[in-house]
Symmetry: C2
Subunit: 395 residues, 2 copies
């Protein structure tokens, strides 16, 4: 048969090979992987989830197994809205849609907002799977420099003035891939720039609660109200396998289209997991659980940094995140992240080169390291091998 | 803010109001609803699922809560492949992708295959949410008449010759909305027509196992091999709330794109439900469960038909399905399904008019009735009221 694939799915997809490698490494127990973004399995509340599942099926089994509404389980939406309100952000349960992880919400927002040729601002670098999703809808991606203290506000202002973008996608807390966090000053200044524009903000915040040092800043939703749609997920704070994320959108026109699209995509997010997760949240203290996980990640990042000090050659710099799951390694001039990635993989260590996080730059001297997953022995062995690989390239 | 929604999501969506009404009626306990496609809740294996969830979390909790691969849980894919093989259809687990219900697979196939302006054949009438999904990708829909014995093969041949369509979407067993089933002769003749063409077949079969009378026919996958992609789901035979469906695709080029798209959409289907469902399938006899559900639906359809004989006026005809969940009511000339739908809803009974199942026809004299859901008292009361409403229009 002579099959013609759609143009949308025939486009080159620079990111997909990197993503495939990440998934392959995750699935191979013989590989030490810092490539993905896996939560540490010891943080999973397996026994509490077992009790929650039993309770849901005994008390509300039929509801958990039957079709449900496209928007998602109301008590779970109320729980999420309440957490926003505690942070001073006015969101009602009626303004939240439960999605199959926040990845699906990225697609929903893209479908609702992007026409071919529309400009979309992203941080440079940005989350690779977000770039992939945006690409499906043929926008022009306009990257804005990310600095140690957050987005470059001057460049942001210029990018908005010159491009009239449809929206900006950003991750202000423990950014993926860099691990960087916006200071409050930068948030405030950037919010001011957005407020004077017609640009929607799509704020992704999968890691924000996993803070183990420093002070949190305000969400752009706090500054901008309905001008900011907020993505969230239970993947990093409870369980990614349940695929429960959400989008909070106070802008009515956008919200209605998001909901219509969600219903057409897959009718609704799985009800069984929504109810089991909510039961878990009722019977357990989420903040306590998050605090334990954050403490674990603090130990992991400190241990990984100590290994890096020990095994990496001089001339390699790393970000020192205050939370989240990633750090960003900058190699000495002339060494390509992709080369290090490939050489390390041959020695059994998976990392992700910086390239797929950029829209335009290639052969960049950066790699992303995930520090949340794996035992200390595993981390030490992986960093030792990675240090050797980098040293080889510096010869 | 002046927000411009994408062209894709700004198109008129004729089906969405009907879908919204269906969901609203499902959610309102004061409404007797024959409008949706809800499985009867008494068929849900709640206790067995509770045991399965407990087993999964005790034995494999970390795997159930962690990220997983985009293609889905291998043992579940193997289970599905084995059921195809028992029907003489050669499908390997590696050719199956687990989706969030088969609705998501409809979108995946559409994204991979449809460029704007491409022709897509559908049965006339066809499943309303499939039409909605196709519309997102701007094809020209070409409906082909559906007769008592299946698709009109002469018209199919002509439609292919004149339109060079990209694919045909069809539901050969207990079709939604009509409840009609293709005879083996029609399947064979239609398969011959497809084989001589370059047209992919997308076979949807959510209800095929729910047969309570007559003999089953071969899947188009049996006739056509890789020229046919097959959609399936556990929604109608085990639980829709878990959102576990699949697409089986033996055509390598299409398969690879489907998988890439699925990964970009939402990374993977929720792992917790995939594993709990598989455990349930291991510890219970699915065929026995399906036989019990089919027997229940046989009783339901017979009871509903007896009520229709009792309460509907002469001049109204209905299909008499051999399985599935729907029957199709044809009203006397001059009476519009939409009018009956609206008048019945005012009296507390929800049905779905024929209109949203058609691409072009409007004000048709048909309505779809779901017979699987609800007690006998519920069915009798609903059909009595519906009969009164129809009689009013015949005056």
């Amino acid at each position: 048969m002579d099959i013609v694939i759609s143009k949308m799915m025939s486009k080159p997809d620079f990111q997909s090979d990197f993503l495939a490698n990440i998934l392959k490494a995750n699935a191979n127990p013989d590989i030490i992987t810092f490539a993905g973004g896996l939560p540490n399995a010891v943080s999973f509340p397996v026994e509490a989830m077992d009790r929650a599942a039993d309770k849901v099926l005994k008390e509300n089994g039929i509801m958990a197994l039957q079709y449900s509404g496209a928007q998602g389980y109301l008590p779970l939406r109320q729980f999420i809205a309440e957490r926003y309100r505690k942070k001073g952000i006015e969101v009602d349960a009626s303004q939240i849609i439960i999605t199959n992880g926040s990845q699906q919400a990225l697609d929903m927002f893209s479908a609702v907002m992007i026409d071919p040729g529309d400009r979309v601002l992203v941080e440079n670098p940005s989350y690779l799977a977000a770039l992939q999703t945006f690409h499906l809808y043929d926008p022009e991606i306009v990257p804005v420099s990310l600095r140690e203290d957050g987005i470059d506000v001057g460049e942001l202002e210029k990018a908005i003035r010159e491009n009239s973008p449809k929206f900006m996608y950003l991750i202000p807390n423990f950014q993926n891939p860099t691990g960087l966090t916006y200071t409050e000053e930068v948030r405030k200044a950037a919010a001011e720039v957005f407020r004077n524009s017609n640009v929607m903000v799509l704020e992704d915040d999968p890691y924000g609660e996993l803070r183990f040092a420093g002070q949190g800043g305000h969400s752009f939703g706090w500054y901008l109200g309905e001008q900011c749609c907020m993505l969230g997920t239970f993947s990093k704070i409870v369980s990614p396998g349940m695929r429960i994320g959400w989008i909070a959108c106070c802008e009515k026109k956008v919200f209605d289209k998001l909901l219509a699209y969600k219903a057409t995509m897959d009718l609704h997010t799985n009800m069984f997991c929504q109810m089991v997760l909510f039961q878990y949240l009722q019977d357990n203290d989420l903040d306590e659980h998050i605090a334990r996980t954050s403490l674990l990640y603090k130990q992991k990042v400190e241990f990984m940094l100590s290994c890096i000090d020990k095994y990496f050659p001089e001339g390699v710099s790393v970000t020192r995140p205050q939370g989240g799951m990633f750090m960003w390694v900058t190699l000495p001039d002339g060494i390509k992240g992709v080369d290090v990635q490939n050489a390390a993989l041959k020695k059994g260590v998976a990392v992700t080169a910086g390239d797929p996080f950029y829209e335009f730059e290639r052969d960049v001297p950066t790699i992303r390291l995930n520090f949340s997953n794996g035992s200390d022995e595993y981390i030490e062995k992986g960093i030792r091998i990675l240090g050797e690989v980098i040293k080889e390239f510096m010869k």
